[in-house]
Symmetry: D2
Subunit: 317 residues, 4 copies
């Protein structure tokens, strides 16, 4: 018989508010050099200096700083939500159509899709998310409504919605995603019309949240798949862990290794400047600031999270 | 103030021996379909049905099953050891010459090396390990002796050694690694002679251990960088965590995502059929069985570890 | 002063009919192992044993054998015709949007398009032909009619037309071409709507001709750009030569080098089983037989042309 | 019966000296913007403004301008000579180990070699030339002597030799070629030791010639494979044509299509600044000037040849 010896940091009480406040100030004082995504006006028109943080623990305690109540476009972060819904419904069958390996490719996903004959490397890259959208379209008459309902349920917030003007703008300029959808269809890995798949995908990426809503929505992944407030199982513990594993290895475009290495938590970023990260059995944290580094991840978001996990010592490693 | 609520499994005592025994039997009964690596006779001549497991906890309790005392060639697993030594000595400077991103490339590393202009994606692929060898050669007059000394120290076992006939065979057929070394040198990312770098690399990969030795050698990575027995810091906690992060994202060739997804622990495999995995703050476990799947990872090793982490619930997610 | 010494074969009169007849018989007796393109029913439903040849000299003498009067879908051969029209009208400006280098890529053109940032390697690959279509759409209100008029003019045959059922079938299954068009548009190298570009492209590829019409259409390229019958300049001699150069290096998918090496004449093939080749200052020859080799070129077509240029000694080298 | 109608330019006497002189002056007056290859001192130390031309006809008439008697390193041009010797001896068997397709790859040959599993795309890229060297080493005890003898024979000039200091410098810095040789050997497509293959290869590339010698050496390829002076068959007409076809499609690195398109003759360039081109049944011409464009081809060499073939109208198309 072995008695587990917990790591020192796990027995300490954490003064999260204090830690958040002091790191928030440091990061806010630092230069903020990145660029705001500007391929659609709705993203480009945002005030680039905004910066918010919200942390919610599995005990439902909330801590925040800065512009944590200002909404933004969560963009690619939403890919985790559509994945969770598809995984819940379709189970392991989804892995026949999308992989779980990091793409590790600086060029971008079309090349790899060609080599892998239409099987996207993972559900966090655009190609993979399009396949997940296609799976949901095959399951529901109104996939956009069902997905929004699912997100509202797990966040406990009925005010969350699509930003239709973002969805429209994405559609009007989304030639690369059109190319991906047609390419996937040429390999037989899109079953519905590419028009429908793209429409759903652009709506998905347009979901609008603030940091509090985002942290709350992802809390179930820090809590073995269950909503800790109303104790409702959203995913089985095993499936929740697997989504965390995918976020860890694939959640930050071509910078997943760097994030794992520097932050040490599963997470997901979006070009709207949001990042959400999960500390299993402890908390979910959302950071938002619009300026992005060259890899497309929020500069202040990364800076904050690196400092935060260093200060708390709560990496999963 | 927040009081941390530990996950349920962490407060249970684990009957590791019982769990190991029962899973070992199941896996042993199952068909064992893979192929033994045979590109050098020393690897090909091994009895393919051998199968051993050894787990050691941070409290220095040991559990084992099967051929856990039979030595084998740890091959690529040794890349973690040379990385640990270089990281200890050279610190963050090594990351100027090798990345931390998964390679995610089914073709192999020469292609990516070309796109990335001689900077290997991570230290777990051959190109990255060659650069780490070059760094150590620049630091020591007798890098082979120093590395072996380091391994003997962290394992607490002076009997661990190179298998010179394996090193010789690798050298005689290692044209691909020769190509990698020359290619790296053409980009200026090898500073010493390629002959010396390859000689050191082939010795490194030839390190011979049994499961007990392998689990013991890696225990410090489960214990925040320190040897739990003699309480000696081998790496700082922060650096130990970073090596774990790299193992997690890059430790299983093109199957790192799959391993993360199925097993949920940082680990490293070798074509000799060995796999070592780390459960932070809990244990180090080594499994060995020579038959490999198509990606080059031990079939029984993967099967055992998937079942083991499912049974114990001790994933890092 | 130098007096040009002509090569021996150029001073001989050629008994083309006799040579064609004897080679036709040999090739017809040989096994015919390839496969008919079947991705659309209109191509798959053709009698695979059909085989026709037609040669027309710059002196307007005609020679033929087999099914030379049976029409077929010229498919990619039509890319030369749209190129000729765009080159005639837009001149050297077209080379800012499409290259003249062989693609030399076994995977296919999406990969290369990504590396080359949306500039197709040459106008003979699908991506390049789509850009040429886009250029023509920008020039004409009714590009489909203008192109057909141009083809009818240079062939001197008003009966040549699109096969609308082929165009429709291509459109219904052309997801790869859709992907290419959207991908090009994402790089800004398509100026019109992808729907219009694809519609024009699918019509272009559906042009229906028999061997006589095909040889006659391409005769101007063997005659320094001018129709030898009515002595009308279609392209300047310099531009005609340049199109021949592009056909030589890029006209046979991934087998351009092989064709140049074995046949030694500029030419272009299509998946309908047609091949047209040019002997400068001598003749244009069209061969058609539906069974294709693995690279997508007519087996009997290649076999016939290799034997024919060997027998006549009239390679350009 | 058909009477062949020769193209107009073929019946004109050409005043080659006059044409050469006037174009030479124009090109010499133009800015000369490229860079001299400087990866070894022997290439970098050359006077960058040197510029020579030599043309020899199949009637053994000679025309020249500028520094046509100054020797330079012919570098990659020598790949045609080793190919000619291997083709003469080994016949069609060589095509099992090297292809005839253009590489068409801006990255470079290691990538493509990996996809093509060790079969170089053609004998004009480094990988292909290394395989040809290996073939010759398997045939001769003293391949360096035999090759030099062959070159002296076809040029009729016993003073042609290797530049040993160039060969030594190449060897000392040739890590990329080392990588290629080891990579080829890892695929089994090098049968001898990579050290021997590289030694031969570096000697081959070091061959030193002036424009007169270079033009004379290649004259047999303009004359159906035979030396027109002493009427000696070096290659069969069919094989000579095939080498011309390979030069045309593969002779100018990633600019083969451009050269074919602009110049319209088979040719080969080297980083020493030399270019040789062939007009079948007419002449061989060598141009040399050390400054190279970004693709590695002589700026003045290309400029001269484009103007020369435009002025003479003697393209093969």
């Amino acid at each position: 018989m072995v008695t587990f010896r917990p790591a020192p940091e796990f027995i300490l009480d954490m003064d999260y508010q204090n830690i958040i406040d002091s790191i928030f100030e440091v990061v806010k004082q630092n230069p903020n050099p990145g660029k705001v995504a500007s391929y659609i006006p709705e993203l480009g028109d945002v005030d680039p200096e905004q910066f918010g943080v919200h942390l919610v623990t599995v005990n439902n305690e909330h801590f925040h700083a800065g512009d944590s109540e200002t909404g933004f476009s969560i963009q690619s972060i939403a890919k985790v939500l559509s994945l969770a819904l598809a995984y819940k419904l379709d189970g392991g069958k989804i892995w026949k159509r999308v992989g779980v390996e990091p793409s590790g490719n600086p060029f971008n996903s079309l090349v790899q899709l060609e080599y892998d004959e239409g099987i996207p490397r993972n559900p966090m890259i655009n190609a993979g998310a399009l396949v997940i959208c296609d799976i949901l379209i095959s399951q529901f008459e109104n996939p956009k409504e069902v997905l929004l309902e699912f997100v509202r349920d797990i966040s406990g917030d009925q005010s969350i919605s699509y930003d239709l003007s973002v969805a429209r703008s994405e559609k009007a300029t989304g030639y690369r995603n059109e190319a991906l959808a047609s390419f996937l269809k040429s390999f037989g890995n899109i079953h519905n019309s590419t028009v429908d798949v793209l429409d759903f995908y652009f709506h998905l990426c347009s979901i609008h949240m603030n940091c509090r809503q985002l942290a709350s929505t992802f809390l179930f992944l820090a809590n073995n798949g269950s909503d800790p407030v109303i104790v409702n199982e959203i995913l089985t513990p095993s499936r929740a862990k697997r989504i965390n594993a995918i976020m860890l290895t694939c959640g930050f475009y071509d910078e997943a290794g760097e994030f794992t290495y520097e932050v040490g938590l599963p997470g997901k970023s979006g070009v709207g400047g949001g990042i959400v990260a999960i500390c299993p059995n402890s908390y979910s944290i959302a950071v938002w600031s619009p300026r992005l580094n060259k890899k497309g991840n929020s500069c202040r978001g990364l800076d904050f999270l690196e400092r935060f996990t260093t200060a708390t010592g709560q990496s999963i490693f």
